[in-house]
């Protein structure tokens, strides 16, 4: 349990750009500023001559910038290679795709696991950040890449929050937006689930008030429990029943003990254990906190439609019928607000038993919808399909 902390800045092969300096600090919603911010990112495809083919992919809570190629640090496969790639709905033969690790993340971007200028770890000295702060850092990254306009912003879950925030913050710099399985405000239920996870992390004696990296330990048990609790919300009851029901794990009878008798227990334990190898516990605290604070309407006079008023961005919202993390009704509220604001809006609720995580897995109806919307938007934007050569 004393695995050394991964070096998150330095010669790890991750692509990074500095997006804030003491001269040009990043101003945060909390009122604090960050004077040194690096954002780690990955790109696929080629930027066209008039820079009109840029796609921003926003990753979810535990994701990273490796949407379409394997993560060289963890060795894990790309997390969205069913959607982003050559000939796929987000076609890397046609678009220049950028995915960056969120501010506060732990895959190369500045966050609680990176070091302050004085060489010590940020830990819980890191300022509490918001979704808007994450998007601010992404916009700064685009500025550094000398890119003005975004053809498409796309992402699910907290990635969908970033997509919504992109359209509101960058206004008409975003031509099309696809928020997936998301809400315009974090529900009390979700705040509750994530608070449970945070408490599990902070109750781990190895958390050491957030200073575990300096002390050479990691709150792995707490982080694993946080992941287990959250993971239940990402899958549907019907899928759990189909995959596990009450079946026993590698045994024929109950042990009358607290071993993982049931397959579901074994599955969740595995989810928790594999998660701690690749994720920083403090990052989990900060990113979930950013989700809790997310409420677009509250920042626009309590009326969600006001946030989108006058936008020329075209939207396509997707929800999944058995998602109870961000239920279809929460997505519909976004759609109603977009309609009320007069935005060009499509909305598809995909029938599936795969729950919130449906956007990561095989879901042909979802892909067909993505493809149709993106292709229509691309031709409206004047982006030609690259002819087969």
């Amino acid at each position: 349990m004393n695995a050394p902390a991964r070096t998150l800045s330095g010669a790890d092969g991750l692509k990074r750009l500095s997006v804030a300096t003491p001269d040009q600090p990043l101003r945060l919603d909390s009122g604090r500023t960050l004077e040194n911010v690096e954002i780690a990112y990955e790109t696929w495809g080629e930027l066209n001559a008039d820079k009109s083919n840029v796609v921003i992919v926003c990753h979810a809570l535990t994701g990273d910038q490796f949407a379409a190629s394997p993560n060289p640090v963890t060795g894990r496969p790309a997390w969205w290679d069913l959607v982003v790639g050559p000939g796929l709905p987000v076609d890397t033969d046609r678009f220049f795709v950028i995915c960056s690790n969120v501010l506060g993340g732990c895959m190369g971007s500045t966050g609680p696991a990176s070091r302050k200028p004085d060489g010590t770890y940020w830990g819980t000295d890191f300022p509490v950040i918001t979704i808007a702060d994450m998007v601010r850092a992404q916009i700064a990254l685009l500025d550094r890449l000398d890119i003005e306009n975004v053809f498409l912003a796309i992402g699910g879950s907290i990635g969908g929050m970033q997509v919504l925030e992109w359209t509101v913050q960058a206004r008409d710099r975003v031509f099309a937006a696809i928020p997936i399985a998301v809400a315009a405000r974090q529900s009390a239920q979700n705040i509750g689930f994530y608070e449970t996870g945070r408490q599990a992390i902070m109750a781990d004696p190895n958390w050491r008030n957030g200073n575990y990296l300096a002390e050479g330990v990691r709150p792995e048990r707490g982080l694993a429990v946080a992941r287990m609790a959250a993971h239940i919300t990402y899958v549907s009851e019907s899928a759990l029943k189909r995959k596990f029901d009450r079946r026993l794990q590698d045994r024929t009878t109950k042990t009358f003990g607290f071993d993982a008798d049931f397959q579901i227990e074994s599955y969740l334990r595995h989810q928790g254990q594999t998660f701690v190898d690749r994720f920083d516990a403090n990052s989990y605290l900060y990113i979930t906190r950013a989700m809790d604070y997310f409420d677009i309407a509250a920042e626009h006079g309590g009326v969600l439609g006001n946030a989108f008023k006058g936008l020329h961005t075209r939207f396509c919202v997707f929800s999944f019928s058995t998602d109870w993390h961000y239920a279809p009704e929460e997505n519909r509220q976004i759609v109603r607000a977009l309609n009320a604001a007069g935005c060009e809006t499509s909305y598809v609720n995909i029938e599936t038993d795969k729950g919130h995580d449906a956007f990561f897995v095989e879901e042909p109806e979802f892909w067909a919808g993505l493809r149709g919307f993106i292709d229509a938007a691309a031709s409206a934007r004047g982006l030609q399909k690259r002819s087969a050569t």
């Binding site: 439609g305 075209r314 396509c316 519909r332 759609v335 109603r336 607000a337 309609n339 009320a340 007069g342 060009e344 809006t345 499509s346 909305y347 598809v348 609720n349 995909i350 029938e351 109806e365 067909a368 919808g369 493809r371 149709g372 919307f373 292709d375 229509a376 938007a377 031709s379 409206a380």
Partner: protein
């Protein structure tokens, strides 16, 4: 504007409706199905279209074709649209299947300058004759019976005119599908002769 292919088979009432749509109009198709009318209006009339459809399969087909369609139903989702958001709102063979036709018409006349409805006319002479001779209302559109879920509301041209009047709308054009437009005084004749009708409705009191 949007890349859609020319539709194959065209519904007669869609063609009749399309004649009332002008280039550049912003049109809401309520109950847009798989988007045939929207494609026709974009392709032939140069209109900008939005759709509302309750069935998932229709919505998916529309979005896969690049049409801007929202999954939802007229009863819940119309009130969020702002006043005068559209040039036209269309109910193509939809109004007789709504749970609350008066409410929907009220809402559509608020959010669009004109409302265009196409519907089956139960005042047609063949329907009247059949009712007289068999004692039953024909062509309800459902094999199961008049009591089945979502069974159509049988109404005539005059009945529809009454609803329009109740909703504060006047009939600015009435035409038999595949027929020539006639003025309001000929409604009685249309009510005898047209199996399917298109009404163009406008607010009696202009805003």
């Amino acid at each position: 504007m949007t890349a859609t292919t020319a539709p194959g088979i065209r519904r007669a009432d869609h063609i009749t409706i399309s004649k009332f749509i002008n280039r550049g109009d912003l049109v809401l198709d309520v109950g847009c199905g798989d988007g045939q009318l929207m494609e026709l209006l974009q392709h032939d009339r140069g209109a900008r279209t939005r759709g509302l459809e309750v069935e998932q399969t229709g919505v998916n087909r529309c979005v896969a074709k690049g049409l801007a369609v929202v999954q939802g139903n007229a009863d819940d989702d119309l009130p969020v649209y702002p006043d005068d958001a559209f040039d036209e709102a269309i109910l193509s063979k939809t109004i007789q299947e709504l749970a609350r036709p008066k409410f929907v018409l009220d809402e559509l006349s608020r959010i669009a300058r004109r409302v265009i409805v196409s519907f089956r006319n139960y005042g047609h002479w063949r329907v009247r004759t059949a009712l007289l001779t068999t004692g039953r209302i024909p062509n309800l559109g459902h094999d199961v019976g008049w009591w089945s879920d979502g069974a159509r509301r049988p109404c005539t041209a005059r009945d529809m005119a009454e609803l329009a009047d109740q909703a504060g709308l006047s009939i600015s054009a009435a035409t038999a599908v595949s027929g020539k437009p006639v003025n309001g005084k000929s409604l009685g004749r249309l009510n005898w002769t047209a199996e399917e009708l298109v009404f163009v409705l406008e607010r009696k009191v202009k805003r």
